[in-house]
């Protein structure tokens, strides 16, 4: 067997590709579903926390900051394992994909809150004053004047963070979520061959390279609009 054939047999064995392609595709669907739900829930919750924080209640702000700092400091896998293996002990039984979704959403919310908050702080105070001086209420000023500007400033860091966290759907494999990596490792252990893992890697590239490119496009577009 020459080296070329060996390489192909190790990483791109045709019959294995054919055999496991349906599994990998199923994994892609699961990954996409969870990723989309994480983005929606994480960013919404992050925005909601930012709005609460802007109200300036000391107690609530302490709670939010503690939540954000803890979430940012812990490795995601630790949180996933604690929630998955810990909650059943207090009588809460969540399916594995729900645990993955919950933990990643909370993580994204923590980062998004920090990013949105920084965005709000970077909007000049005169914007608040102009809005309030025309009779807009606090929330009208926040939603129509401040947040649209803050969100624009936060698009680049938020895009990066969102990509980083949705990639963590791969951690679901350790609690048995049938996403891409889980399908790939299962197939690998049946076939004793790295081809399914390579297929998994390609599946991630297919999913995330467009997102990364879109992120870069958004980044340059919004940077230009700000000037």
């Amino acid at each position: 067997m020459d080296r070329g054939t060996l390489f192909i047999d190790t990483f791109f064995k045709p019959e294995l590709i054919v055999r496991y392609l349906p599994d990998i595709l199923k994994g892609m669907v699961v990954t996409i579903e969870i990723a989309v739900l994480v983005v929606v829930a994480g960013i919404s919750l992050g925005l909601a926390l930012t709005v609460v924080r802007s109200l300036g209640s000391r107690l609530l702000n302490v709670l939010i900051v503690v939540f954000v700092d803890v979430a940012r400091a812990l490795p995601p896998l630790v949180l996933i394992l604690i929630v998955y293996f810990g909650l059943p002990n207090v009588g809460i039984l969540l399916p594995s994909y729900a645990v993955l979704w919950l933990v990643l959403s909370l993580l994204l919310a923590a980062f998004a809150e920090e990013i949105f908050w920084a965005g709000i702080l970077s909007v000049r105070k005169g914007q608040w004053e102009a809005a309030r001086s025309t009779g807009l209420t606090y929330f009208q000023a926040l939603f129509h004047v401040i947040l649209p500007q803050a969100v624009r400033l936060t698009v680049p860091p938020l895009t990066n963070r969102t990509i980083a966290i949705t990639k963590n759907t791969a951690l679901g494999t350790v609690i048995g979520v049938p996403e891409i990596l889980n399908q790939a490792t299962t197939a690998e252990s049946f076939s004793f061959n790295a081809t399914p893992l390579m297929m998994g890697a390609i599946a991630y590239l297919v999913l995330f390279v467009p997102v990364v490119i879109a992120g870069r496009y958004i980044e340059t577009r919004f940077a230009w609009r700000r000037a």
Partner: protein
């Protein structure tokens, strides 16, 4: 006095404002008649801007009373948002909303505060922009406008709400000299149309020409006031004369 007071647009009594331990306004009495243009001058740090910002409660006064068109501005039951609508404010830094067109800037409060439908708000917005000579810039974004144009849009944003009184906080200080004239021209038009205005500014020539009354503030107090001929003449308070001499140099 009593008969005149009944139709005052603005009446301020014993206004004090402290930041932390520092008292910036030390008891100001101030009144404005309808259609009057009052200029407030004085050295920096005199409290002019703080005073102006108290008049629509962008700064919360520590003590005193403010009546705007008969409404007690500091009363807890006063709807501050409804009242602010009637007090136009123009800022040194324009503070246009950068993510909205000129028309969007002018119509936001019309739509959200007054609750007008889009078409009605836009008609009023276009009319307001027309008054400041910028009807053709309705669809332009602030970063596509010169400083003078931005400030005129900011004035349009205020007048569209039909204020009873307008407050100008150094409206021309951030402008290149060649753009100042266009903003002053708009203010002159407003004066001619009978708008009541309180202007904090260093445009002494404009004060001399357009103000009905000039108030000289120093160290948190009103030191002297009167018609421009008095304040800019030999009979002014010595401190006002000293300040003006310093500027003229």
């Amino acid at each position: 006095m009593m008969s005149a007071r009944r139709n005052l647009i603005l009446e301020v009594r014993g206004l004090r404002k402290s930041f932390g331990g520092t008292e910036v306004l030390k008891g100001i009495d101030f009144a404005v008649q309808p259609q009057e243009l009052v200029f407030i001058i004085g050295p920096s740090g005199a409290g002019k801007s703080t005073f102006l910002r108290c008049l629509n409660r962008l700064e919360e006064p520590t003590e005193g009373s403010i009546f705007v068109d008969g409404i007690d501005l500091l009363h807890p039951k006063t709807d501050i948002n409804a009242t602010r609508r009637r007090i136009g404010m123009v800022f040194q830094a324009f503070n246009l909303y950068p993510h909205m067109t000129a028309l969007g800037n002018v119509t936001l409060a019309l739509r959200k505060v007054i609750g007008l439908a889009n078409a009605r708000a836009e008609a009023i917005g276009i009319a307001a922009l027309d008054r400041v000579g910028l009807k053709d810039k309705a669809r332009a974004y602030p970063n596509e406008l010169s400083g003078g144009q931005q400030q005129r849009v900011a004035i349009a944003r205020a007048i569209a709400l039909e204020p009873k009184i307008m407050l100008f906080d150094e409206p021309t200080s951030a402008l290149d000299p060649e753009l100042v004239g266009s903003v002053l021209a708009v203010m002159r038009d407003l004066r001619a149309s009978g708008m009541t205005m309180v202007v904090v500014s260093h445009e002494m020539r404009f004060a001399r020409e357009a103000a009905h009354r000039v108030v000289f503030m120093e160290d948190g107090l009103v030191c002297d006031e009167g018609p421009p001929t008095k304040i800019f003449g030999p009979d002014a308070n010595p401190r006002a004369r000293k300040f003006l001499a310093g500027i003229a140099r």
